[in-house]
Each structure stands twice: as C-alpha cells, then as structure tokens.
C-alpha cells in the first residue's frame, strides 16, 4: 500500500469520525427535553432572557426544518465556526486557542516523562532479583491504579505543604509544571512499563539477540540496538491510547492544580451546560486524537515498514 493512499485513507477516516461525533452532538441537543434554544443557553435553570433565546434560535436556525438545521450546523463547523460560548460570551474558537496550548504542553511533557520512566523501569527490571521483580510488579500495578486526583493531592501534601519544595499553583515559572506533569505521567508510566517489559525480555531472549552477542556485540550494544527497538514498538502503538488517557487525566489534573486548559474549560462548560463550548471541545479532542493516531502510525511505518501491512 502506497504512503499516499495510506495518508488519504487516514484523512478520510478522520473526517468520517468527526462527522459522526458532530452528528451525535446534534442529536443529543435535540434529545434534551424542552426548548432546544434553552438547552443551548444552559438548560431551564439558566433563566436566559427572551432576546438571548431569540438570538440562539436565529443562530441555530431552530425555526427551520430539522434537515436544514442539521446542514446549517455542519456548514458552520466546516468553516470552524463553533458559535459563541454562552457562559463566557466569547467565540468558542478563540477560547480554545487560549486554553489548548496549555493542555498540549502539559500532556506532551507527561507523555515524554512517562516514556522515559517506563524505559528506565523496564530496563532495570531485567537485572532485578526475585524480590526486586515482585516489588517492581507491585509498583507498576499500584501506579496504574492510582487516580490522578488523589496522586495530585498527595504530591501537593508532600512536596508543597510539607517540604515546601515546589509550588502547588503555577506561578509563571517552570516549577509550577513539575507536580502536574508528575501527576499525569506516573499512572501512564505504570501501564507502559508493563507493556515494555514483556516485549523487552522477549526480544533479548530471542535468537537475533543471541546472534548479535555471538558476533561480538556487548550486552549494552544488543540492548540499545535490538532490545530497545522491540520494546518501543508495542508501546508506540499505544501512543494514541496513551494520549487520549492523558487528555482524560488533564481534566482532573487541571482541576486539582487550578490550571487553565482544555479540561478545565470543558468542566466549567459541562457544569454550566454550555453546549457550543462542549461541542467545540469534543470535536477538538477527537481531532487531536486522530492526528496523534496518524502520527504514530506514520512513525511505526517508518520504523517497521514490513510489519504494517501484515
């Protein structure tokens, strides 16, 4: 399969997925009992003014037939017009432009840290004694079972309240990022270590490693050249999943550390039932996931061209 065809398939698939997500939201808004204009404005409890309701009706074409409304809705999305947030009274796209970089930086740093930690732990576990292996196993399971909101609280208690080493709230310096990134990275590192250790030990025990040793490569060379590559591949394949779980975690971590970001914006949008904002964020996060998936698949193709089609 040619690279071009692969890319075209990826883009087409992503568009179908985004269209499905948008359609689900369109149906969801109409399933809320009562006046859709009121639902868009934050539900019956929002006490929206008559003008605001009229504006929402005109904005969404709510007096048109459903078919027309649906096409209008999709047409606006195509032009990247997500409407105006009713809670913040600003265009949704502008708000997302402000909060998105914060969440992306947080998630990417956490992803990087989780990878480094997982590789170190996986490599270290190769030489571990029996007791060490049991201990390592326990640490992995616990790391993967720790909820972000609790880990964040514990890290604040230890490093901020008790030791006073790191700030709990971002003060503009990089130090404020340390605890949120750690909170986000540790559970993911637990998952990735489990994954990498299996493939690492399989790779180092397989005939090609023995052959490389017989050729005179040192243990370290075999580890770097062969083991690492085999440990990285399955974990790399999980990057899309990992990133998606980081975005989930970011909602919680941003709440714990009072950081601005996509998750925080989504949470307040959900609490105030700000449907335009919710729609925009849902579509954006789905799009991010698609981009990450396409990127990792591309890297996998580059690393392991023969294995992709099989």
């Amino acid at each position: 399969m040619g690279t071009l065809r692969w890319a075209a398939g990826r883009v087409g698939g992503a568009l179908v997925v985004l269209w499905l997500v948008a359609t689900a939201i369109f149906i969801g808004v109409r399933l809320i009992p009562g006046d859709p204009a009121e639902a868009i404005m934050g539900g019956p409890g929002s006490q929206a003014s008559a003008e605001a309701l009229a504006a929402a009706r005109a904005d969404y074409g709510l007096d048109e037939p459903l078919r027309v409304q649906y096409l209008m809705f999709l047409g606006k999305l195509l032009r990247l017009d997500f409407g105006t947030s009713y809670a913040l009274r600003d265009p949704v796209l502008g708000i997302m432009g402000q909060v998105l970089p914060q969440t992306i930086v947080l998630s990417l740093l956490a992803l990087l840290l989780a990878w480094v930690l997982a590789l170190v732990f996986a490599a270290a576990s190769l030489r571990a004694t029996r007791v060490g292996a049991v201990l390592g196993n326990a640490v992995e399971i616990i790391a993967a079972a720790v909820p972000h909101f609790w880990l964040g609280a514990v890290l604040i208690m230890v490093f901020s309240s008790t030791l006073g080493w790191l700030p709990a709230v971002d003060n503009g310096t990089g130090a404020g990022l340390v605890l949120p990134v750690l909170t986000l990275a540790l559970p993911l590192a637990g998952f990735l270590t489990q994954l990498m250790r299996d493939s690492l030990s399989t790779a180092l025990a397989s005939p090609f490693s023995l052959a490389a040793r017989a050729r005179g490569d040192s243990r370290l060379q075999v580890f770097w050249r062969h083991g690492l590559r085999h440990a990285a591949l399955p974990a790399l394949g999980m990057t899309g999943w990992a990133f998606s779980s980081l975005l989930s975690g970011a909602v919680v971590v941003e709440a714990v550390f009072a950081r601005p970001g996509l998750g925080r914006a989504l949470l307040s949008a959900v609490l105030s039932r700000d449907i335009p904002m919710v729609t925009g964020i849902a579509l954006f996060s789905a799009a991010i996931y698609m981009v990450v998936m396409a990127l990792t698949e591309g890297i996998e193709r580059a690393l392991h061209p023969a294995g992709v089609d099989s």
């Binding site: 609790w150 208690m157 994954l195 989504l266 949470l267 449907i275 789905a286």
Partner: protein, 265 residues
C-alpha cells in the same frame, strides 16, 4: 492462576463484599452524623482515620462508601459490556459493509477520551449517580465492543458452531448458546480490570462534582471535600484515596491472575 493468587483474590473479593453488604459490621457509626465539636480531629484511637470538616468519622465514611463505589463500578461495566456485546456481535455477524460501518462508529466513539465522553454525556443529562453510571459505561463500551467483535469472528467458523449448524440449531440459538458465552470467557479478565477502572472513573466524576452529590460517603466526593483542607487535614484526602487504590489494584491483580492484560480494553 497460581494457588496463592487464587486464595488471595478470593479473600479480597469476600472482604470487599462483606464491607459493601454490611458496612455497619466494620463501622457501626452513622456516616452522616455531624459533630462540629469534633471537626478536623487527626487520626487517633477514637477516630483511626480522623474526622472531616463537620466532625464526621472518616473511617466510617470510607467503609460506607464502598457500596456506592462498587455498585457504580459494576453497573457501569455491566452496561458497557452489554452495549459492547450487542454491537460487537452485530458487527461480527453482519455483511461486510455493515461490519465496516459499525467499526467506524466504534472508532468514532473511541476517538473521544473516556472522561471527556463521560463529561459530554453529563452535559446532556445533568449530574447525578445514574448519569455517572451511564457516562462511565458508555465511554468504556467501544473498547469492549471491538474485542467482542474479534472474539466472535474467530469463533464463527469453529467446529463447535459447524456442529451446531449441522444439528439444525437456529441462528438465534447458536448466537445465544455458543457464540456469546464462548466469546465472553476470555473477556472475563478484562471485565475484572474494567471494574477497577470504572471505580476510578466514577470517583473522578464525583470528585469533579458530577457524580454522587455530597454529603453521601462516596470516595471521590470525599476527596473533593478534602481538597479544600489539604494543608490542614491530610487524613481527609489520604484515606478515601487509598480505598480507591486498594480496590483498583485488587481488581488489576485478579484480572492479571485470570490472564488479562492491562489497557487491552
């Protein structure tokens, strides 16, 4: 599953069931009883896990919270698995084009991070315990459905099913008696892992103020309350969180002992 793992996990499940079914046996107090004079007591023999801002005993609340957390976790997993079985079976047995369509739909659902999907559902339903179950359940369904589909596809041409066809069993009977049960058995480990994850997600929703409302003794909601007093009363945050970790780690260990792999769902 080794002998020790089996004994350990059986004991763990029994203890958890005991705590969930008869919380009063371990913690006879009232989890909602307010006593302002006793507020913010640090852990002591009288209050092994201290007291919260209203003087409620944290140990009593943690014990009584087990039922809510478990019920939500199990109900959400059951709902997710139910939806997954229907969708996965339908996809596997459908003609090629419909199978491809359902796969696309599952991919679409999978594209939204679980917690974001849960929040999305709650944006439409409003907060509460019921919505939390639906939200967590539906957000886990796409992952399960893909596994059910591939399980059924491998079973579809097995000799067992050919035999059932030769014996003249109808389609519905074959699906119900042979396909679904045999596809589910390998998924048992994943379901166990899933319950642990669902407990975490559900408590995350309560922590964010979208699940079980206060003052009910739910672990996530207790953590949300404890957050305000983090520097003053660490025990309010430490113990409910430990309870979540113990349940989720226990579920992971049982799942792994049953042969499951983490994050395959």
């Amino acid at each position: 599953m080794s002998r020790w793992a089996r004994i350990g996990s059986t004991l763990f499940v029994l203890l958890l069931l005991l705590v969930a079914l008869v919380p009063g046996w371990l913690a006879p107090g009232d989890p909602l009883a307010i006593d302002p004079a006793e507020a913010f007591q640090s852990p002591s023999p009288a209050h092994p896990m201290g007291t919260d801002e209203s003087g409620r005993d944290v140990l009593t609340r943690v014990v009584h919270g087990a039922r809510d957390s478990l019920v939500i976790g199990i109900a959400a997993t059951a709902l997710g698995m139910g939806v997954a079985i229907v969708l996965g079976t339908a996809a596997a047995l459908s003609p090629r084009w419909l199978d491809a369509g359902i796969l696309r739909l599952l991919e679409a659902l999978y594209a939204i991070p679980s917690l974001l999907m849960a929040l999305l559902i709650i944006a439409f339903t409003g907060p509460g315990v019921g919505p939390a179950i639906v939200a967590v359940g539906l957000s886990t369904a796409p992952g399960y459905a893909r596994l059910v589909r591939s399980q059924i596809r491998t079973l579809r041409h097995s000799e067992m099913l050919q035999a059932a066809t030769v014996l003249g069993r109808g389609t519905l009977l074959r699906v119900r008696n042979h396909l679904v049960p045999n596809a589910l058995r390998p998924l048992l480990a994943l379901i166990t892992l899933g319950v642990g994850q669902a407990v975490i997600w559900a408590s995350a929703l309560s922590f964010l103020g979208l699940g079980t409302p206060p003052p009910a003794p739910e672990w996530g909601a207790m953590l949300a309350a404890g957050r305000t007093y983090l520097h003053l009363a660490w025990w309010m945050s430490l113990f409910p969180g430990l309870a979540i970790v113990v349940v989720a780690a226990g579920a992971t260990m049982i799942g792994r002992a049953l042969g499951g792999k983490v994050n395959a769902a």
